[in-house]
Amino acid sequence: MATPQTLEQFQQKCAAVLRPGLRKNKELERFRVSVKNGNALAADGPRGPKPRHAFSKRNIFIYGTLFVVAVYYLLPLYVMVVTSLKGMPEIRLGNIFSPPMEITFEPWVKAWATACTGLNCDGLSRGFWNSVRITVPSVILSIAIASVNGYALANWRFKGSELFFTILIVGAFIPYQVMLYPIVIILREIGLYGSLSGLVVVHSIFGMPILTLLFRNYFASLPEELFKAARVDGAGFWSIYLRIMVPMSVPIFVVAVILQITGIWNDFLFGVVYTRPDTYPMTVQLNNIVNSVQGVKEYNVNMAATLLTGLVPLIVYFISGKLFVRGIAAGAVKG
């Protein structure tokens, strides 16, 4: 057969070559070479990776949208940072977008150390330490309890576990406001009202539904055979939890920590209801600084105070964000 010129000939040729078996591999190779050397079939069809254009309609749309959204979110932050670095005379000029002519850190110092909230004039520092003393135990306590809850619900299906879980989830949908006053009474009766421990208890309880759901779903996604193998190996409830489940669950613990730190740190409602002025968390103090009505509004101090308050969740997010990705990658290995 001559060198094929049409598709039909090519197909015939292929069939002829393939049917008698591997013996004719050489013939196929020769044919391929002849195609390469520029016969009709090979002429100038596309070859190799499909070219992609950097300025396609699609790319312009995607990156344009991303840019607009990014600016929308970053602009207020920019104004806050810039304003917090200006002195009051410069702010009165009214150009909120212009960078500071003379950078001053005095508003930051004042916000942290000497701004007045009610009777106290020691700035946000008191609120910061209060918030730390609220957030750290609340995060640890709530995650410790919720992870054991989730583990028990996912792996040890006890009688009524489904009912228990349903009740817990329904709890997540009840508005907080409904429960404010009953909790005030409960805390008063057990002698924790107004103390930091009381607020820790409240935060731990309110974190329970969503965290339990989170952990239960994660543990349920781990291979069940791992749990069975550990049981055959003789490990009990706690042994399996601590030595098998927890080491495999770093990603979900990181997620829970992020969720709880940001949630508890940013909480205002519980803080203002369940604490006294000397135990106010940072958010409540910030509100009192910003909304104080005596004298002039010190915008630069307000901005600095707000940034200081928002700094903790921001830092946590940046640091653990990286850990989070690493955790997922480590967990992606098939057991």
Binding site: P223, L226, G234, M248
Partner: protein, 364 residues
């Protein structure tokens, strides 16, 4: 090998319901000391469930389980003297191979020297000595499964339970590890219960096979007996690849001789050994492809001229599909004797090797 008076594992009247769905129904099974039993069946037949019940990972609804003469029905898995190997290996991902092997022993509080001794022995038997410091993620599938077997081995158990241990491996590794498991059984002489849906594994490994369907053991017998004398049509169709040929028809008596008829086709059954007294009525005639001869001269109690429909070469041998009356039959022949498509051939077989099933599907 039949069950002895003193079985290694004895399951009596085992029933398991998931809610209102019965999964296992009053199942009885006696397994002799050192016996290799394979539970074989399609997915959803309850074979893995049965294994989990023996392991103590599932609470049973009724019945009793004895291991080594001890009633373990209410015992925890660790107290039953069993080791289990799972399909997905189930190695603890954050622990090294050595830690994986020693975990159960550490939990049980075994002295360090004893742990080291047992790990060394298991590693030697399974040839995983050079892998002990690695994490499971750094192992290939075959190595992982070996470590998983090692985890059962170090615990020095009476009974090994395998839950489809080779199903996640590729075909070549599977056949290699199959041989190794068989070797392991010969060396350890432990009782082993092995769940699979792969009939080749079942045939090659088992001392006895229990073919299961719908939570009921259909047939419990040696591999050859199951292959040659399946008790019902389900077992006949499930075992054997390529599958058994089935011809629907009826049983007839003519002058004291029984024969099977389907349309124009009449097969004399003078050589067939009936399990029960035959009665005239609908029946199914089953014949394995390798028991049908092709162009192999006369002397068959039944022979016929047929046309070749399709030829399927499979390497070692070739499957030839022919039309016999209205029926399509497969015949297994050595590849060098395979006929061409469309050619006329003569087939013949001896009904002695056939399996006849009655209307209810049971062997006649």
């Amino acid at each position: 090998m039949s069950a002895t008076a003193n079985p290694s594992v004895s399951i009596q009247d085992l029933t398991l319901n998931f809610g209102i769905v019965p999964v296992l129904q009053s199942l009885d099974l006696d397994i002799a000391e050192g016996e290799f039993i394979v539970l074989l069946g399609p997915s959803g037949c309850g074979k893995s469930t049965l294994l989990n019940c023996i392991a103590g990972l599932l609470d049973i609804s009724d019945g009793r389980i004895f291991i080594k003469g001890k009633n373990v029905t209410w015992e925890e898995p660790k107290d039953r003297g069993i080791g289990m190997v799972f399909q997905s290996y189930a190695l603890y991902p954050q622990m090294s191979v050595e830690k994986n092997l020693s975990f159960g022993l550490k939990v049980a509080g075994t002295p360090k020297a004893e742990i080291d001794k047992r790990i060394a022995r298991a590693a030697e038997i399974l040839q995983i000595e050079q892998l002990l410091q690695r994490k499971p993620a750094a192992l290939s599938g075959g190595q992982r499964q070996r470590v998983a077997i090692g985890r059962a081995l170090v615990r020095d158990v009476d009974v090994f339970l395998f839950d489809e241990p080779l199903s996640n491996l590729d075909a070549k590794l599977r056949s290699e590890l199959r041989v190794e498991i068989k070797r392991l059984h010969q060396r350890l002489a432990n009782t082993m219960i092995y769940v699979t849906h792969d009939q080749i594994e079942a045939m090659t490994l088992a001392d006895r096979i229990a073919v299961m369907r719908g939570g009921v053991i259909q047939q419990l017998d040696e591999p050859q007996a199951i292959y040659n004398r399946p008790v019902n049509r389900f077992v006949a169709g499930f075992i054997g690849s390529p599958g058994m040929n089935f011809i629907e028809g009826g049983l007839e008596e003519s002058g004291g001789d029984w024969r099977f008829g389907s349309g124009d086709l009449k097969v004399p059954l003078s050589t067939y050994v009936f399990d029960q007294q035959p009665v005239a009525g609908p029946a199914v005639f089953g014949m394995r492809p390798e028991h049908i001869g092709l162009n192999s001269g006369s002397g068959w109690p039944f022979s016929a001229k047929v046309t070749v429909d399709v030829v399927e070469p499979m390497g070692s041998d070739t499957l030839v599909w022919v039309r016999l009356g209205a029926q399509s039959l497969s015949v297994r022949v050595p590849s060098e004797r395979a006929p061409k498509t469309g050619s006329q051939v003569e087939i013949g077989f001896d009904p002695m090797r056939a399996s006849l099933f009655g209307e209810d599907g049971n062997r006649l």
